[in-house]
């Protein structure tokens, strides 16, 4: 069946705006912690971050960019503009892309552990449970929106 363009109810857009705001703040907040943590580590200061939030400059920058994508969707969605949905879908795609890549990283590190690689003797799955992976879980509900509208021509 041919579908021509997307259109959501105003109330749905309000919920989407809240969702984008939450995801934007989470991504930017955690991303900044990782970036600052890495800068501190380079400067010789122990940032004392939990295992699931290791200092990572580039990983943090990626989360900040994804967070900005989500945040850019908030104003148009609050103004009942359908264009805001674009930022929700774009942010979800990027977040899930990173999440899937880190899931594969965890899998391949697991294989390295199983084949007895020296660098992975003390490896545990938690080592790879980085923010880009677990933050992506929060984007799964948004993925349903993307899935629903993927065939719109």
């Amino acid at each position: 069946m041919a579908v021509s363009g997307i259109h959501y109810k105003d109330s749905t857009k309000k919920y989407m705006a809240i969702y984008c705001l939450i995801l934007g703040v989470i991504n930017i907040g955690i991303g900044m912690i990782q970036v600052i943590g890495d800068i501190m580590a380079i400067g010789g200061i122990d940032p004392r971050l939990p295992v699931i939030m290791p200092p990572d400059f580039f990983g943090g920058i990626c989360l900040i960019v994804i967070g900005l994508v989500f945040l850019l969707g908030v104003p148009p969605l609050l103004n009942k503009d359908d264009k805001g949905v674009a930022f929700l879908v774009g942010g979800v795609i990027l977040a899930l892309m990173l999440g899937i890549i880190y899931l594969m990283v965890m899998g391949s590190d697991g294989i390295m552990y199983l084949i007895g690689s020296e660098d992975f003797e003390t490896w545990v799955p938690l080592d790879d449970f980085v923010p880009a992976l677990w933050v992506s879980f929060f984007s799964i509900p948004g993925a349903f929106v993307a899935w629903k509208i993927r065939n719109i021509k």
Binding site: H7, V89, S117, R150
Partner: protein, 435 residues
């Protein structure tokens, strides 16, 4: 005159597109202000502020993916060939000198050399899988589009970005792809900076060094080297336009963006195979030939090799004479292995992959013992990125630039730029008290 013709051409194209848009408005039934799937994605991926950061995020994710996911496969292939080489060596251990030389030739020259190069096959194939996904999904042309504004500002034609992206695979077809650029100056500038885009053949060098010196952030380090190549290419384009060609910046170009499509397993596999198989062909032709030559130069005279006097072998003598050139860069700081760098870089002329092979397999030295600290290792990675293109690329540079003078210029500027960049990186190591 040429610029005016181009402007006129642009106006014609713009008018044509306006006409097309008007016709579409008249005939297409589409509720007002409603978005399609392509509109949705383009709002984000072509966003004025976020377009380039998103492109960089995707590029970074690509290197995280290819390095980490390929590592177990690389390790398994490497282990298999190492075991085979060891078995051959031990089979010839008690034999006479002639048989021992033959055994070493088989184990280190053929099996070890080919095995080392084949261990990078998963890495190369994963790189091409990702590039194919980006192309087949329609994102690659969006990447060229978002980079267009930045490219024009720094003196490159918007059409230059596609050949430059192609350079991530191989610089030879990338340089040939510059034929789509109509202006001769724009084309020459794009050709001259294209070797700065890191081709797949350089990936084994980066991977090998990054795994030894930056095991936890190898993907990020490799990404930074690719980024360094892009930054240098843009910077050199700006310099060439201002100083060498003294021409005005090119006009922006209009690009037809294909619709987004979900890549299929079949098309991605075909694209990956078509490109990846080129690497396999290289392994069994030019790289096998290179492995044999490397083995001969590093194992002869045999007496010197058996006695462990590697500096007395042919490669040792050649490399030793080149070592002083690299003292200021810190590459020769580990004196016992200082000769290796020059030898390895010479083989880089033949094929870039051989740089890592010379050091890692034929001479059998781990990357970790070659450089005195990670920053010097990084400086060496930057040097191999920039210094000179491989022989095949040189041939295409000569034919596309149309003269030996331009080729000589390309090689000379490449070497001096490599030296300068590495000197600066090593200088940071010196200043930081690392040396």
């Amino acid at each position: 005159m040429h610029q005016e013709i181009e402007k006129l051409g642009m106006q014609i194209i713009e008018e044509r597109y306006k006409k097309i848009e008007n016709i579409i408005k008249e005939v297409q039934k589409k509720p007002k202000d409603r978005l399609t799937w392509s509109d949705i994605l383009d709002h984000v991926f072509l966003n004025k502020w976020l377009g380039i950061p998103i492109f960089l995020v995707i590029l970074w994710a690509m290197f995280q993916f290819i390095f980490t996911v390929a590592t177990p496969l690389m390790e398994l292939i490497g282990m298999g060939f190492e075991a085979a080489a060891e078995a051959i060596n031990s089979a010839f251990a008690g034999a006479g000198t002639g048989e021992q030389i033959f055994g070493s030739f088989l184990a280190d020259g053929i099996v070890g050399g080919i095995g080392f190069l084949l261990s990078f096959v998963p890495l190369i194939f994963f790189l091409f899988i990702f590039l194919s996904l980006l192309e087949d999904s329609g994102y690659m042309s969006r990447a060229a589009f978002v980079m267009d504004r930045a490219m024009v500002k720094v003196g490159l034609h918007g059409k230059s970005f596609v050949p430059m992206l192609m350079g991530f695979g191989c610089n030879i077809p990338a340089i040939m792809a510059t034929r789509t650029i109509p202006d001769d100056t724009d084309r020459k500038i794009t050709i001259l900076v294209n070797p700065l885009m890191s081709c797949g053949a350089r990936l084994p060098i980066y991977t090998w060094i990054a795994a030894a010196f930056f095991p936890l952030i190898a993907g990020t380090v490799i990404f930074s080297i690719y980024l360094l190549g892009i930054v240098l290419a843009i910077f050199m384009a700006l310099i060439f336009r201002k100083l060498l060609f003294k021409s005005k910046p090119p006009a922006p170009f209009i690009m037809e963006l294909p619709p987004y499509r979900a890549p299929t397993l079949k098309s991605t596999s075909i694209h990956m195979w078509e490109r990846g198989v080129q690497y396999l062909k290289r392994v069994f032709t030019i790289l096998l030939f290179g492995s044999i030559i490397i083995w001969a130069l590093t194992h002869l005279p045999w007496d010197a090799y058996v006695a462990g006097n590697m500096e007395q072998t042919i490669a040792g003598i050649i490399g030793g004479s080149l070592a002083p050139i690299f003292y200021p860069l810190g590459f020769s700081a580990v004196e016992s292995v200082a000769w290796i760098i020059g030898t390895a870089l010479i083989f880089g002329f033949l094929a870039k992959e051989l740089v890592a092979e010379v050091i890692g397999v034929t001479i059998g030295i781990s990357a970790a013992t070659l450089f005195i600290n990670p920053l010097i290792a990084y400086s060496f990675m930057a040097f191999t990125l920039i210094y000179v293109p491989c022989m095949g690329c040189m041939g295409i540079l000569k034919s596309e630039l149309g003269s030996k003078k331009w080729l000589a210029f390309s090689m000379t500027y490449g070497f001096f730029l490599a030296y300068l960049v590495s000197f600066l990186i090593s200088g940071i190591a010196f200043l930081g008290g690392a040396l």
